[in-house]
Symmetry: C2
Subunit: 280 residues, 2 copies
């Protein structure tokens, strides 16, 4: 079983990943798709007169401040637009895709941040009423049940808080939680760069392989911005029992298959240490 995260920052060009996923499903592979959609959320928010508000947290993350109205736009776009366009696209390729948000059947249960600390001009500022959250529980039996029924789940990054409210969650972290809950053999995080780079400006500095024990060190040394979130997600997936995580380029033909062959940055990967186990 395989969990694939489709990045949202490079827009909606999901054609090559979808073709590849369709081929894998035809071969009998069980695939769960998780997607993002930030760029599209920003575009539609702005068109609706609610431009997105991003803040930088003291730990250096760029984070969306999500009040209730922003949350409703976020949910509408990721669960209603991106999710359904992906489902339509996969269905046209013969995949019996079934789209869900984390609200549906309590698929993703999370903790609401409530407040977000923003660093503004070197000073910390507390913003209340934030509906961002982190995934803490996954309804894995619903996903297994759908996979057994021949459906390919496609998951939008919205979770249900323990208080019963919708939350905006990070797609990479949600994919990691899903992969861990399913005990997936691999988590593929597709993005618009070739993998983790020593120098973000130079693709030739790709780090091809990171043993699990060295992942935290790499996080401190090389990861910036979005890549930091991806490495955090990778580490939590490995800690959750996923055999390997591959951060790979989603802009090429057959990006998932290439990632499974080891292109990109492979993190963990007990498969190499125990030949014959967990491959592909």
């Amino acid at each position: 079983m395989l969990v694939v995260k489709l990045g949202g920052s490079n827009g909606l060009d999901f054609a090559a990943p979808c073709r590849d996923i369709a081929a894998l499903v035809r071969e009998g592979k069980e695939v769960v798709v998780v997607h993002g959609g930030s760029r599209e959320v920003d575009r539609i928010s702005a068109a609706l007169g609610r431009p997105p508000r991003y803040v930088t947290t003291p730990s250096g993350f760029r984070s969306r401040y999500t009040d209730r109205e922003t949350l409703e736009i976020f949910a509408m776009v990721v669960a209603g637009r991106i999710n359904k366009l992906l489902v339509e696209h996969l269905q046209a390729l013969g995949v019996n895709a079934l789209g869900l948000s984390g609200l549906d059947g309590r698929l993703l249960v999370g903790k609401c941040k409530g407040v977000i600390i923003a660093l503004e001009n070197g000073r910390k500022r507390v913003l209340r009423g934030d509906y961002g959250g982190t995934v803490e529980g996954v309804n894995a039996s619903l996903l297994r049940w759908l996979l057994e029924g021949g459906y390919t789940p496609v998951i939008a990054p919205v979770a249900m808080s323990t208080a019963g409210e919708a939350l905006n969650v990070d797609g990479d972290r949600a994919a990691a939680a899903v992969a861990a809950a399913l005990g997936a053999e691999a988590l593929v995080l597709l993005t618009d760069v070739p993998g983790l780079l020593r120098d973000p400006a130079d693709p030739s500095t790709l780090i091809p392989r990171i043993p699990a024990a060295e992942a935290r060190g790499c996080l401190e040394r090389y990861a910036k911005g979005r890549m930091k979130k991806k490495l955090h997600a990778a580490i939590s997936a490995l800690e959750g029992g996923v055999a390997r995580v591959i951060i790979a380029d989603g802009r090429v033909e057959a990006p998932v298959s290439r990632a499974l062959e080891g292109r990109g940055t492979v993190i963990g990967g007990r498969a190499r240490e125990l030949p014959g186990k967990g491959e592909g």
Copy 2:
């Protein structure tokens, strides 16, 4: 088993119907919810600079002209906004709601109209590229499977065409198709009037009961506008084997339970002729 259609034309005040559905689910009733959302689609379309375009067909129906861009907005709003707000609301009431559009798992398969005939100043005009459609097939096994698993399906009126494209479908007709496919004992169509009225301006002219054989006659004689679509939906549900259809007021407390007790306009209703069968 029971199918409830929540009307979209009276906005998003789903509080009373949701409370009632939660009570019915707690009593062990299997409920499938279908919703609309036209008014909200119109509001957001207009905010996005794409005001809706309605036409009147030669047979007197008011119909939305849905080009591809309108379809994408329609799907986003009904499947991402209304569906997820409803799921969140039901979840907060303890119902394990699970939202789907007709695209998901090919839940609703339909035929694309392709063209729509508009009557403009007494002349017929052909509009091409319409992504409106009618539901012709329902994946009933997916719904039964979810109900058996303890989930309450909540369905957005988007279908999948035989060519693999998304379609905008009428919520009442979709609910009728779902009720027929499941062999539901009752279909409750909630709206913002007390039922079918002899005189739409006078609530005291409510028609409380229409035997199945007289439904077509009533359609010609009394139904106008949206009520015409509801009666059409009711007739197709009865023809599909649903025992009775109730068109009822959704603006009151416990609107579904009241409808099942016979308030509103009850169409068909073999339950009355064969005591003890199909009740409630």
